[in-house]
Symmetry: C2
Subunit: 295 residues, 2 copies
């Protein structure tokens, strides 16, 4: 894990700098809005999606700083989804990353617009990136549109999650909710990095399979932490999903079996990464890190 920690140390600061560069300055009008966007983006996220994008790129090429704008744009999409999911009409969450959620701090109208603004800015930022040829970037717009979208992406997952609240959900249904709600964008983060690094078709298949495994594993770990982690570590209200009548892996399968499933998915992810050769060693460690994370 030492090389993974070195990788995190190396990449996290440039990701923060890139986010700062992409976001409108807080003193640019309308200030209340730009402040709110920055508040949510800089609330202390782990930047897993940008790190996965850079990781996907580094499995094929060394010059990873080229991919920072696209990696940061994915974090903007992720942040927009958190802001909208926290709204009273949705998951109604007052706390996010240990701080008041965006609408608690700035009001609902501003939170809706801040989310809209981050999603819009993400696509605009990708379109303005001079580092890659236009066809590659246009494909990234399509990949992210699909991963964030209503048919096979994040919004579909959030909608199915809301619909399922308080109803009986079986294992297959819960798996598809998790794959869509969290897995799609996480998995696509890696695929986008690999695509921009010029990965061939066979490698893209392995990368996509890797992404599907860690995407689902990630959300199962989230469910487990929601039951087991102290709120200070979690940065949000623990046990909330279950109280909301949301189906969770521990609720459906128990903590032990949920942990076992995460272990299996992580093993599969590692073997997909191994097919990419020694350069992708980091992706194997990344899967292990996600399995063992505590927040």
């Amino acid at each position: 894990m030492n090389s993974l920690n070195a990788f995190f140390d190396q990449v996290r600061l440039p990701v923060e700098d890139t986010l700062d560069r992409l976001l409108p300055p807080a003193d640019l009008e309308p200030r209340g809005l730009h402040e709110a966007m920055r508040y949510s983006v800089f609330a202390g996220g782990k930047r897993l999606r940008p790190l996965l994008s850079v990781g996907g790129y580094r499995a094929f090429r060394d010059d990873w700083p080229r991919v920072l704008t696209v990696a940061a744009a994915i974090e903007l999409i992720h942040t927009y989804s958190l802001i909208h999911d926290d709204l009273p009409a949705m998951d109604d969450d007052d706390v996010r990353r240990g701080q008041p959620s965006c609408h608690r701090k700035y009001g609902e109208a501003v939170a809706i617009l801040a989310g809209d603004g981050l999603l819009t800015l993400a696509f605009e930022s990708i379109s303005r990136e001079p580092e890659f040829p236009a066809p590659a970037l246009l494909e990234v717009v399509g990949m992210l549109g699909q991963a964030a979208g209503t048919s096979t992406g994040m919004i579909a997952g959030q909608m199915m999650d809301l619909e399922a609240e308080g109803s009986n959900v079986d294992g297959d249904h819960l798996e598809s909710i998790h794959r869509l709600k969290t897995g799609a964008l996480l998995g696509t983060s890696i695929a986008v990095g690999a695509h921009l690094a010029g990965a061939g078709d066979a490698d893209m298949i392995a990368v996509t399979a890797y992404g599907r495994c860690i995407g689902l594993a990630f959300q199962i770990v989230d469910d487990i932490l929601d039951e087991t982690a102290p709120s200070l570590v979690l940065g949000k209200t623990p046990g909330k999903d279950r109280r909301h009548g949301k189906a969770t892996y521990p609720g459906l399968h128990g903590i032990e079996d949920s942990r076992r499933m995460v272990g299996t998915l992580t093993g599969e992810a590692r073997s997909h990464a191994a097919r990419l050769g020694p350069r992708a060693h980091l992706l194997g460690s990344f899967a292990e890190y996600l399995e063992n994370r505590t927040n």
Copy 2:
């Protein structure tokens, strides 16, 4: 105006068909969400933005069906903005185009997600369009991202509009709100069409100037109609803006002067269109049509 009516008749149906093709089918899961997206898109909009895109394209080239996907994508962006603007936390509008607004019909959570989904789908649709080379489409993503965005676009206008509610707004401030909230996307609709038709730099300057004039004129006419048109024609609650404490052109300048300003802007728009030569005759008629519209 006869040729303009013929143009409308010719283009409107293909626009509807393209919207139908871009939107996920209503029976695709999550059905409640796709139904809501279709409900708002097919609520009887005038399709001005797609018509303006096709108009901008036709000022330079004949084969306008090529631009339909991009034109329809702009209508998706417009519809998303209406859904989110109508939300209780925003303008709190129960009626849109004579029907219950999206959140009144499907609930707030679905309306938020439907808006998010339409915005996402718009960018994805543009990225999947095979009719144009990638650099041209990527530029369109950037143009629309800016026109819909938080710095110099639609979201900035909506935020400034909310901030201005109940406060004293002078003429300059109101003009910038209107230019951002409505003008930016309307003007960019034409510019996108012209850009995809391969308009040169000098022509793009005239097209952009034309778009700025009709964009502002459009919103002033909206203000006037909000005061003067019967609700049946308007399809929304009339006089509502003023009661909401929103600044309007008639409120600030009176109806007569507001009409005069529209006349001046329309004249300017027509002379910008004239600089584009006889092919752009339609754009001149379009400006006149927008001046005289009654709903």
